[in-house]
């Protein structure tokens, strides 16, 4: 199952590069630190992660930073846990998410991620073929993001204690000298850009989880954005804010930035890149696309003098082709995000309280 594949993952067709004793499912012993654990690492994770079999494993990864420290002296360090049901959804899996999520969090500081750790909490009974597919997704995604999966851990919990599999990843990268990206740097006049269509990931997962079908399949946008960020920084080293609008969607990101910067944000509702399928699904479910999670999208606050260069750089990257200006930062109504509707009226956009709840009618 790759991000570009269509349809269901082919579990039947998957086989371990080497036989894993007689088990076709994860058993408690796979987390026990004994032979079964070692086999799981050796035969399943290492091949999937593309690690050469002759690599010696220690209690921790040892990474050579020589050369990297010349780029900058500050570290971006981030962790994220991935709890998603179902494990596979149109366009991706929990494995793609676990790598891209942390890669993107590190990239939002302007850093190029160097290495990730991977922690697995596996429910007893999970098919090894499923775990293998997910590990392969992680390996492939890490390769495309040019980041190493450097260390990992596996625990197995009793059946019924987890939704099949939870993954935690942590990652770090060096922030280049001269780059200073954080919400407090938003300034009046900054131009606000989103890198592409919004709402795809949340609707893709929800449609699969709830068995809802909308005529056309809506696929997650899950993608690593470190390459896009690098291209944007080449065009303008002085990017003020970057944020990947995951949980809570674009609305939550804008509200958090407005709050942190103590400035107002105004955007044009008609300029939001909402695909027709997402708009239809949201209308059907009583959701708002600006509250729906994205996994391959970023929002950038760009100084106005650099906007043309940044837009050109974004449009030249595969993950920024749909980049669109949606609004600006204002001094008015500090801390509050205001949307201008298609009809010219204005409304306040607030953080959703918790999870968005589908409306009854």
């Amino acid at each position: 199952m790759g991000a570009g594949d269509a349809g269901e993952p082919d579990f039947e067709g998957w086989s371990c590069p080497l036989p894993l004793r007689d088990h076709d499912r994860v058993v408690i012993g796979h987390g026990g630190g004994g032979k079964l654990s070692a086999e799981l690492v050796e035969h399943l994770f290492l091949p999937a992660f593309g690690v050469a079999p002759e690599v010696q494993l220690h209690d921790s990864a040892q990474l050579d930073l020589s050369g990297l420290l010349e780029e900058g002296r500050r570290l971006a360090f981030s962790t994220d846990s991935f709890v998603v049901r179902p494990l596979f959804f149109p366009g991706g899996s929990i494995g793609d998410l676990a790598v891209n999520g942390t890669v993107n969090d590190v990239a939002m500081s302007g850093a190029q991620p160097i290495a990730l750790s991977t922690g697995f909490i596996i429910e007893e009974g999970l098919a090894l073929a499923t775990l293998g597919r997910i590990a392969e997704d992680m390996g492939r995604t890490a390769k495309s993001a040019d980041v190493a999966l450097a260390t990992g851990d596996t625990k197995v919990v009793d059946a019924g204690k987890a939704d099949g599999l939870y993954i935690n990843t942590s990652g770090f990268g060096i922030i280049p000298d001269g780059v200073d990206i954080r919400p407090e740097r938003a300034a009046p006049g900054d131009v606000i850009v989103v890198s592409g269509d919004i709402g795809l990931h949340g609707v893709a997962v929800m449609s699969k989880r709830e068995g809802l079908e909308f005529g056309t399949e809506i696929r997650t946008d899950c993608a690593p954005l470190n390459g896009l960020v690098a291209d944007m920084l080449s065009a303008c080293r002085d990017l003020h804010v970057l944020r990947d609008p995951t949980r809570g969607g674009l609305a939550a990101s804008l509200c958090e930035i407005a709050g942190a910067a103590g400035l107002g944000i105004e955007f044009e509702e008609t300029k939001l890149p909402i695909p027709a399928e997402v708009a239809a699904a949201c209308s059907f479910l009583g959701l708002d696309a600006i509250n729906v999670a994205n996994e391959g999208n970023l929002v950038a606050f760009v100084p106005p003098q650099s906007i043309d260069d940044v837009m050109a750089a974004m449009h030249g990257n595969e993950h920024g082709r749909g980049a669109t200006v949606i609004g600006t930062v204002v001094e008015d109504h500090p801390g509050v995000v205001v949307a201008r509707t298609a009809f010219g009226s204005r409304r306040v956009v607030d953080l959703p309280l918790g999870e968005q709840l589908p409306r009854i009618c």
Binding site: G215, V336, T341, A342, F343, G344, P358, I360, C361
Partner: protein, 371 residues
């Protein structure tokens, strides 16, 4: 999918706004009955763009909002029982009962599940024959056919572990109660398109005659709402009171007859409490006697539960159009979406929540600073 764009077209909207502006000569108060219409009006700022003469009053058309506190408490009591799987539409989970909500019950170990259709709850019952599965059957006439179908299917399949907690309400008796109230300021109504897609428009003619007020059936997209308002204003300005259908692409006179038949088979008309309003005679549906075995109130013996409402909350006056949400002393203070006193602050369709979410920039009484 394309209809979404067509019925959101700003140029057409501008024409409708201009036509309404040209037509109106004096103040009129128009009530949109349906919560979905309230949501659309506030979200798109339609009320900000209408001429000052036109006041929109947000009616009691959110089924979540009008479900009485006592009924929520019954749901909470049932959901907390061991062995019960309690299924509900999503936005019911955050509605506060006397002391907690369904989310809290879930966090305390109750098996509370969000479903998108009552038929999903029937499926859950079939898959869990050793558990009691209860569906919270709320809503107006729109949700009733599917809820009735769930009961019908459960009976047909011989499911003895499925029951429904019924709190159905009906639009025409609510319109009659509001139009007939001595304090009502409503000059005309927008009736709810999706309710009429099930029930047809035939129930509304007698209301027009009885109260002498125009009723225009319309939909939920901005242009539907605007066209509905335009037609009500034209009638009012011409001194007419008629029933009009501005949602003919979905609604006809008779409605969906098989759906009505299903409802008729399963439900019987009953008196109902409306949260914030009180009892309205013959304003709801309950299970017919032959389906009494599927009545969760009886099965779990919670029929006697009742609860007083918050003394601070003025949601009843909001629901009846007597005050705007931000005229309530508790609005944005004791009462917010985080700590709702009344259900109008809970559902995103509720008038108070819609005001809180989208309108905090207007008016001096509204605090701009986020707490």
């Amino acid at each position: 999918m394309k209809y979404l764009d067509e019925f959101n077209d700003p140029e057409l909207a501008e024409k409708l706004f201009a036509e309404i502006e040209r037509t109106v000569t004096r103040p009129w108060a128009i009530m949109e009955v349906c919560g979905g219409q309230t949501h659309s009006i506030i979200r798109n700022g339609i009320d900000q763009l209408l001429p000052d003469e036109i006041e929109l009053i947000h009616g009691p058309g959110c089924p979540v909002c009008v479900t009485p506190l006592g009924m929520i408490d019954k749901a909470l009591a049932i959901a907390a029982r061991p062995g019960v799987i309690f299924c509900s539409f999503g936005d019911m989970l955050r509605v506060p009962g006397s002391s907690k909500d369904l989310f809290r019950v879930k966090s305390e170990g109750g098996d509370v599940r969000i479903v998108y259709s009552p038929l999903d709850a029937v499926k859950i019952a079939e898959d869990n024959l050793d558990r009691e599965v209860v569906f919270f059957a709320i809503g107006f006439e729109t949700t009733a056919p599917a809820n009735a179908m769930a009961v019908h299917l459960a009976e047909q399949r011989g499911l003895t572990n499925f029951s429904v907690l019924v709190s159905h309400v009906l639009v025409p008796p609510a319109i009659a109660a509001i139009a007939g109230s001595s304090t009502s300021r409503v000059d005309g109504f927008l009736a709810a398109g999706h309710v009429c897609s099930v029930m047809g428009t035939w129930q509304y003619g007698p209301l027009v005659e009885q109260f002498g007020l125009p009723i225009v059936v319309t939909g939920f997209e901005p242009l539907d709402v605007l066209e509905g308002i335009r037609r009500v204003v034209v009638q009012l300005e011409e001194g007419r009171a008629e029933l009009e259908n501005a949602y003919a692409r979905v609604v006809n006179t008779d409605g969906n007859l098989p759906a009505q038949q299903m409802v008729e088979d399963v439900f019987d008309v009953t008196d109902r409490q409306w949260r914030g309003i009180g009892e309205i005679p013959l304003s709801g549906w309950c299970l017919r006697d032959r389906y009494v075995d599927f009545d969760a109130e009886r099965r779990f013996d919670v029929g006697d539960l009742d609860a007083p409402e918050s003394a601070l909350c003025r949601s009843g006056e909001v629901l009846q159009g007597q005050i705007k949400p931000n005229e309530c002393e508790a609005f944005g203070e004791e009462c917010s979406p985080r700590t709702p006193l009344g259900a109008t602050m809970v559902s995103s369709e509720g008038a108070c929540a819609a005001y809180y979410q989208y309108r905090r920039l207007d008016g001096s009484s509204v605090d701009l600073v986020r707490t």
